[in-house]
């Protein structure tokens, strides 16, 4: 470092990448806190490093995610605004006078009135505190219920898609069998070309630490399309649903052994395979 500045620009990239440790990491962190020039370089490094994301095989999310997101957003819009409920607790003008305790009224009638009203005010205050606590408890319960409903809706959306896949006359089933000399395994693919939906169910011996299994839809024309990467490290069974582009006529389905995390196109040996 020169005057505390990292001497090499790659240091910013390595810092963003998260590979620096110990003194190297501390040195750059302590310098970044007060250096605008290096903060700009760091922002540029973040952009460069983030571009590595594009090395990941393209995986489209299921349509259910967008549906759930928009339902979540709508539910929030329809719920009573927190801002409004908060503002209701705050006096209209924050000069403090609203919270000043009332002075006892003067005169005999006033003192009687005060003697009656003061306990009533105290009772009202206690009731308000109790109601406020109850309201907080109910708000928390409501939030918990909202989370449960959201989870249930996700499960329902998945179940509906699965049901549609099972019942559609356009769904085909393809058994996957092991290639000779490869690990033992067995699987089945349900595939609906019109829906662009695929479900895999099978078992296979766990892959080595630095490898993953990857399922491919091999079309009649064009390159194979990834339909999921998995590594049954804890169990030898795997089951999932995946979305692929609609309208792909498959020639076969295959599971290959790839470097950990999968590859954009198959590079490793076929382990399980099944033709249509």
């Amino acid at each position: 470092m020169t005057n505390g500045h990292p001497t090499r620009e790659e240091d910013f990239d390595l810092y963003v990448l998260g590979t620096l440790e110990g003194d190297e990491k501390l040195a750059i962190e302590s310098h970044l806190a007060g250096c605008a020039d290096c903060a700009r370089k760091l922002a540029a490094a973040r952009g460069r490093v983030a571009a590595i994301s594009f090395a990941a095989p393209r995986v489209e999310p299921s349509a259910a995610v967008k549906d759930r997101l928009l339902r979540q957003v709508r539910a929030e819009s329809q719920a009573p605004s927190r801002a409004i409920s908060e503002s209701a607790k705050v006096p209209a003008r924050g000069n403090g006078r609203e919270f000043a305790p009332p002075e006892p009224p003067r005169g005999l009638a006033g003192r009687w009135l005060f003697a009656i009203l003061a306990p009533a005010c105290v009772a009202l205050l206690i009731a308000t505190v109790i109601l406020w606590r109850e309201n907080s408890r109910l708000e928390k319960q409501l939030a918990d219920l909202g989370t449960s409903i959201d989870k249930a809706e996700r499960q329902l959306a998945d179940a509906q898609e699965m049901l549609h896949l099972y019942t559609s006359k356009d769904t085909i089933k393809v058994a996957l069998a092991p290639k000779p000399g490869m690990v033992k395994g067995d699987g089945e693919v349900m595939y609906n070309e019109k829906m662009g939906l695929l479900m895999y169910d099978g078992w296979i011996a766990p892959s080595p630490d630095d490898k993953s299994y990857q399922l491919w839809v091999v079309p009649m024309d064009g390159k194979p399309i990834s339909a999921g990467v998995f590594n049954p490290a804890t169990s030898d069974t795997a089951h999932w649903m995946a979305r692929v582009p609609e309208g792909i006529a498959p020639k076969m389905f295959a599971i290959t052994l790839e470097p950990a995390g999968g590859m954009p196109q198959p590079t490793g040996p076929m382990v399980l395979v099944g033709g249509t």
Binding site: R8, E9, E10, D13, L14, L17, G18, T19, L20, E21, A39, R40, A43, A44, R46, G47, R48, V49, A50, A51, I52, S53, F54, A55, A56, P57, R58, V59, E60, P61, S62, A64, V65, K66, R68, L69, L70, Q72, V73, R74, E76, S77, D210, S212, G228, V229, F230, N231, W240, M241, A242, P259, A260, G261, G262, P264
Partner: protein, 183 residues
Amino acid sequence: MPATDAALVHKIIQRDEAALAALYDRYAGMLSSVLNRILRDTQAAEEILQDIFYQLWCGASRFDPARGSLPGWLLVIARNRAISRLRRHNPAAGEEILENTVVMPFDLESTTAQQQLLARVKGALESLPKEQRAAVELAYFEGMTHSEIAQRTGDPLGTVKTRLRSAIETLKRNLQSTMSHNT
């Protein structure tokens, strides 16, 4: 002509659901890909994806498009969330807001632009020697430090450091050339 990211963020601040849906359509595939690559778990990836866009909906006013790139910011958040989940680490509160400033001088607002960058990044990575590419992927997609990569690959720590530094230099050079192609 499609609305810019900045215009859509402005509309989200005004609680326009259609703007959120438009940004989702623009970037969900890009984020889903990196989340799936890191987590290798479709359900976990989709949970984080939904959460990121919900965070955008709730906190759009804190994002200043003039200071940084929205897709860059989304990618940084996605990677951090996925790595944290993978490594069972909870990021410090507020960490993500600080990462607001991500300068990404690529046009990613159209699918074509994303595909072009995808092709160039893949090309740049494929041009690296095999060991360098593997080190970059272990660092980026598995969140490994120098020592962890050395432990995983069995290579000396110094070799791993040199390898990653060379890889970063090459990628930077190639991506700068991409930027000059784009501008």
